[in-house]
Symmetry: C2
Subunit: 544 residues, 2 copies
């Protein structure tokens, strides 16, 4: 069932620009079959087909887009067994985790189906004409969000389903009305192709233009770069390393026509344990922290990588608990050899740094395989961290760095020095939180999501979620890549002035045929134009 070829125009692209194989990190061996890199013409063809598909797909009613997204979800469920088994072989992620991730993936598709079926996401706004206004009449002004155009999505290594071929980026872009070209992640090519086949089948069975979706295998960074630079591509979605994400940001900015680029890159997710919580719940917090930073072998963008504790006996107690847990931990396979190597080098850098104390490291078996890793726990003083800020960088894997501060003032100063993050976490009682209101104020500026008395791993897919944050967490803090608001990355507002009813999109017609929520003259309503309660808004009376 896995052909080893890219999917363009709904079919396997049998041209080949070189070959590779999947790799099983648990067993340390190559997997069948052989995969073929798409030649440059494959990308060009996919991009031109995406452009051809755009207008019809963008204009497809929300109900039909919803049917398509649900069809993909069902298709993934139909091959769940094969998919989980292949993903398990390619990523070493346990089957239970992959089953959960599959459920998340299909629920995500269905949530976006619901959003576009209901239709209010388009943010329709209508300011009806005021022909009698003095000194100048007001034209009829209406606007809504429309698809950007064909979007490039990069599969991520650490979520082979939920942030890969049919993951959050693809689901939100398809929901917005954008054709999608996915660059498959080479760490799970079989999983990618299986999901790609499901989407291509859904495109076909929903009678959509075959340019709505393509999947490309590419060697190194060449194909990805060509994809991002292709003039037909109008937006980019990526989850991965800071290095690769920055390179994509630069490519998008350097194009003759710069385009929106959403890269989710690097986060160390600081955790602060406040005094009363530390005194009363140290062991519980230590257990939760250990679970969170070793979950999935520490391969989450929300892994808590910095833990701020006071340099006192209560801080010592929590550290003592953490040490015990790390020392008893086992060894597990990471996603790829490269990730494991990079983790070991990060751990070695910390171990060898004069300012860092290695508190604990789990015992590594003598015959440990090249993809495997063991948890490690480090400590640094607040003062030494200020002197060596690079120690706060991300080490992707099951390790965390405890920072011991001497005073409240020093802790606040350290917080102010933190870079942009996806999350920041506080453990505290109500009294702690009231007393450390200024710390919350600092962290609100640093992170997209603040967590109280919990752990940052576990990103709920819902309407209020924000999975984004100031650079280097993401390329643009004004957007989220998880949750229903992720759709706004792939849409831009278009305004229609004095359009006759027949030429308007359904969302903007007087009678509101779709029954969506709209803002008419500043009032949010499902009413038709003319039947809405008018709010006498102080709208500009002079046109220039």
């Amino acid at each position: 069932m896995i052909s080893g070829y890219s999917i363009v125009n709904g079919e396997p692209q049998t041209a080949s620009a070189g070959t590779f194989k999947g790799f099983d990190p648990t067993a340390g061996r190559l997997l069948e079959p052989t995969f073929h890199y798409a030649p440059p013409e494959g990308l060009d063809r996919a991009a031109h087909l995406a452009e051809e598909a755009l207008v019809a797909y963008r204009n497809l009613p929300g109900k039909e887009k919803a049917r398509f997204l649900r069809h993909i979800a069902s298709g993934i469920e139909e091959i769940a067994g094969e998919l989980v088994s292949r993903a398990n072989a390619e990523t070493a992620l346990p089957e239970a985790r992959l089953k959960g991730e599959l459920a998340r993936t299909v629920n995500q598709l269905r949530l976006f189906a619901q959003v576009v079926e209901e239709g209010s996401w388009a943010n329709a706004r209508i300011d009806p004409a005021q022909p009698e206004r003095k000194p100048l009449p007001r034209a009829d002004i209406r606007s809504l969000f429309r698809a950007l155009g064909p979007v490039a999505v990069f599969g991520s290594s650490n979520f082979p389903l939920a942030f890969s071929v049919a993951g959050g980026d693809t689901a939100s872009a398809l929901a917005a009305g954008c054709p999608v070209i996915v660059k498959a992640h080479s760490a799970h090519p079989g999983t990618s192709e299986l999901v790609g086949q499901v989407i291509a089948k859904s495109v076909r069975e929903n009678h959509l233009h075959p340019g709505v979706f393509a999947l490309l295998f590419g060697a190194g960074t060449d194909l990805g770069a060509a994809l991002v630079k292709h003039p037909r591509i109008k937006g980019v979605g990526f989850t991965g390393s800071l290095h690769a994400g920055k390179a994509l940001m630069e490519m998008c900015a350097a194009r003759p026509e710069p385009i929106p680029c959403f890269t989710e890159m690097s986060s160390v997710n600081p955790v602060f344990v406040l005094p009363e919580a530390l005194r009363t719940r140290a062991a519980q917090i230590a257990g939760g922290l250990f679970g969170s930073f070793t979950l999935g072998v520490g391969q989450f963008c929300t892994k808590p990588g910095l833990v701020y504790l006071p340099a006192n006996e209560f801080g010592d107690a929590l550290v003592g608990e953490l040490k015990k847990l790390v020392e008893q931990a086992g060894c597990s396979p990471m996603l790829t050899e490269g990730i494991s190597k990079s983790y070991r080098s990060g751990v070695a850098h910390r171990s060898g740094h004069s300012a860092v104390r290695t508190l604990a490291q789990a015992a590594a078996p003598i015959d440990m395989k090249s993809c495997h890793a063991v948890p490690a726990l480090f400590e640094v003083s607040g003062r030494d961290l200020v002197e060596n800020p690079e120690l706060a960088g991300e080490v992707f894997g099951p390790s965390t760095l405890v920072i011991r501060y001497a005073s409240r003032a020093e802790m606040l100063e350290l917080a102010r020095g933190i870079e942009g993050q996806l999350t920041a976490t506080l453990h505290g009682t109500q009294a702690d939180l009231a007393e450390y209101f200024d710390l919350i104020g600092v962290l609100e500026r640093k992170a997209g999501r603040l967590v109280v008395n919990g752990f940052p791993t576990g990103v709920e897919v819902c309407h209020a979620m924000v999975h984004g944050g100031p650079f280097p967490a993401t390329s643009d803090s004004r957007f989220t890549s998880v949750g229903t608001q992720a759709i706004y990355r792939w849409a831009r507002p278009v305004c229609y002035q004095d359009f006759p009813q027949a030429a308007l999109p359904d969302e903007l017609r007087d009678e509101n045929p779709l029954g969506i929520l709209r803002m008419i003259d500043g009032v949010v309503t499902r009413d038709a134009v003319g039947r809405h309660a008018s709010l006498a808004q102080a709208i500009d009376t002079i046109k220039i």
Copy 2:
């Protein structure tokens, strides 16, 4: 009353890094008093004060922000006479136009006051906890939009009030909760200082931190570059040339921490006249077009600079009408010597181009002053435009280029070749619009605003307006710089997980103390949490 100094910490900054004077383009002479460039320390101080001011200003209730914005509006009205007179001397824009622009400026401030007083703009979303959910409970997730941080605003030359010191960028950024540092445009320094004084007084009289606002005079591009690169600055707003706007985009992208950058740059605002409208309304359309491309001496970003007409007798008739109007036109002063020089060179380039026919040019008086300009009308065939695409570039001033196409297919091909625009205009009957549905589909991808049977100049400040578009019209087509949605350029979503009520912003508290519209469990409501109608959303049931 004009001191000639920058405003930092609410006071004139008497340090000087060089001097300059305002210039009267009508009379061609320097204006008193002398202005002083701010030294680099002035910028640094302004940026640090803005940072200091941020938390308190951002957290200020919407009602108080509204009072502040309205106070600025009233303050501007109080000095309207002096302001219009000074702006007239510095820009050569007629008093009637400046009075209109002043009204637009204060209405814009009051509209944003209304938006933040009402409060629903913050897009509060609440997904309440589901402790009983299987297989895992759902945390309580809430989010809203919060201010980005201190914002740099560049005054634009062509709107000395509405897009300058207290213009749309400043109004929307202050509304979002961002302190603002304005780089004054050197073409209207006195106007800038007068408005700056009003804002500084409003800051003082509303008991706000003096870092909420600063105004800086700077020589050349050095101060602007330093402002955009300053680590305390978290967003940039600019309206001006493509060259300068691209330079700012590049600076924002090249910072150690890249930041959101909204530049509104270049647009030639294509106009298409469809067959039936052309046959029946040629003279009327010609009159409107002439009025639109010569309005304000053609110094609008929405000036129609390309007019697409068929190469037939009906096209000839419209061109004939346009020629008559241009030949009878007079000579008027432009905003600056630089703009006038650049207009003349643009006109000379077209006049001298072998593919271009000069259809008409108004007579220039022998003693025409250096800042003055006369309207000019050019024509090119569709085929020659394809061969010489640079001819479609912006010529800022009272000139337009008529493009004569041979067939419907050629016209569509030309439309597909158009770059990103602020606007695109269609003149057509209902039958024309139905027949040219595919042209509308093309233009929807090219422009932020489509106008039917009107003219693009005249940008209504309202809820549905979109003044933005794909590059090179702006740096980011997902936002608008005019209308209430302009506030979203300066805000990012922040998410609160499992926060106790007391630690939440008012917008997210259960009881909805501000009475704003919120999305609770996917339902938009003003109800309190617990009293909202729950929509059984298919939210992800698995947390990873």
